[in-house]
Symmetry: none
Subunit: 226 residues, 2 copies
DNA sequence: TCAGCCGTGACATACCGGTGACACATCTTA
DNA sequence: TAAGATGTGTCACCGGTATGTCACGGCTGA
């Protein structure tokens, strides 16, 4: 899966530098589309949906503000302004037209990249929330819904948090003590065996996929893809 | 309904300037909490959920990075670093620890404010329209009218804000504590059970559609399409 | 073969959430 | 202003169940 990225910038040198950086750093993460004048950018924005837009303000043809408004009418994809105009008013105007952020030239491409990732993560959060997957098991942290082979299963609270901890440490062996500390917290007087029992109940809930939770004798438990 | 904002900054002068700006500009939009040292900030972060955190890096006690990590363990609320450290490494380290953005001192408070709003809008994706829908239930934020199957129902204030909060976080499981913090605000001496009771009264109002509010035992409540 | 480790069935209880009732404050209305 | 209605927090009770505990027995490796 890759993200569709639109970069709009009239300086061809900068345009190339930025798009190369995203392509190389991302290693296939980005599907980069570029535009170097306002009208071309407008056409591309209205045409296809993007996951992120980097947008210069001063452009031949339409201005960055126009493009931002056009993009906003279509979708609410994240937009970052790239601007040489560091003046107070221009930046505020950018926010008013609905951008998410701005970067003042000259900027560090590496920073811009980090900012892009953070923004993208934020923009995708609202949709489904974070989903943990491992083999046939999936767990949605937001809705706390657990699915096995895409079929929802009901699961108790302790089993849920145990599964969550296992999934967050996929392929690692977790000792009983470790699990107790993380899932049960600072409860002092609990029997170790409670972990075994909760593992058992969890396995029952998982049905066919219960085999994904491996017992590592003398060490603890581990969850794996198969 | 206001947004819970935490500002962490050891310069009391700056702290006051920023918090005053948010309070005045927002006119009740912000419920501002401040901290001026690392340990205080850590305590506040672990204690209550926030909708936005502004975070200085250089602090007496724990560092901003530590606080950011602690906050991330708890929730995914937007975090903006305020930093005098403009070095490449520090900024990238900030992104790695999971912040959303950074601002280098000295900064324009007005810009920071605009950035905050943009980020908040992004984080609360979907909640900026005035009509919220979920299955047969619809809620109009402007007129405060709630309808079930297109038929208007009367609903009390607390029930309204509870429903609003549920709808703004459709499909998410919300804990009692979380609900208390957001719907009841900083009232300290309220019984957890008041949430249950308000849920009950809300369900009564919703009639046939009451089933859309699910109880997730041991974890909280969630509203779903069906 | 024996000790340690783990799975399993059974059990008991503490906990959790739904519910009815009530107290109190605030608002409405005569 | 008095009386009633309404909104909201609190409490006690209860049924169901989530979860901790225990005992037994099988498996495994030294």
């Amino acid at each position: 899966m890759s993200y569709r990225l639109l970069i709009v910038e009239d300086s061809l040198e900068l345009l190339e530098a930025v798009s190369d950086f995203y392509r190389e750093e991302g290693a296939g993460l980005w599907d980069v589309v570029t535009a170097s004048d306002g009208n071309d950018a407008l056409a591309k924005v209205t045409e296809g949906p993007f996951d992120l837009i980097l947008l210069d303000i001063m452009l031949p043809g339409a201005s960055g503000f126009d493009i931002c408004r056009a993009a906003r009418r279509k979708s609410d994809c994240p937009i970052i302004f790239l601007t040489a105009l560091g003046s107070e008013d221009n930046i505020l105007k950018g926010y008013e037209t609905g951008c998410d952020d701005y970067v003042v030239k000259p900027f560090s491409t590496r920073h811009l990249y980090a900012k892009s990732l953070a923004l993208l993560k934020r923009a995708n959060k609202g949709s489904d929330g974070e989903e943990l997957r491992c083999g046939d098991i999936s767990l949605n942290k937001k809705s706390m819904i657990v699915k096995v082979k895409d079929k929802e299963i009901t699961i108790n609270s302790k089993e849920y948090f145990l599964l969550l901890y296992l999934l967050e440490n996929k392929d690692s062996v977790l000792s009983r003590k470790n699990i107790l500390d993380h899932v049960w917290g600072d409860v002092l007087d609990v029997n170790d065996r409670v972990v075994d029992n909760t593992i058992r109940r969890l396995r029952e809930c998982l049905g066919d996929s219960s085999g994904q939770i491996k017992t590592v004798i003398g060490r603890g438990y581990r969850i794996t893809e198969a």
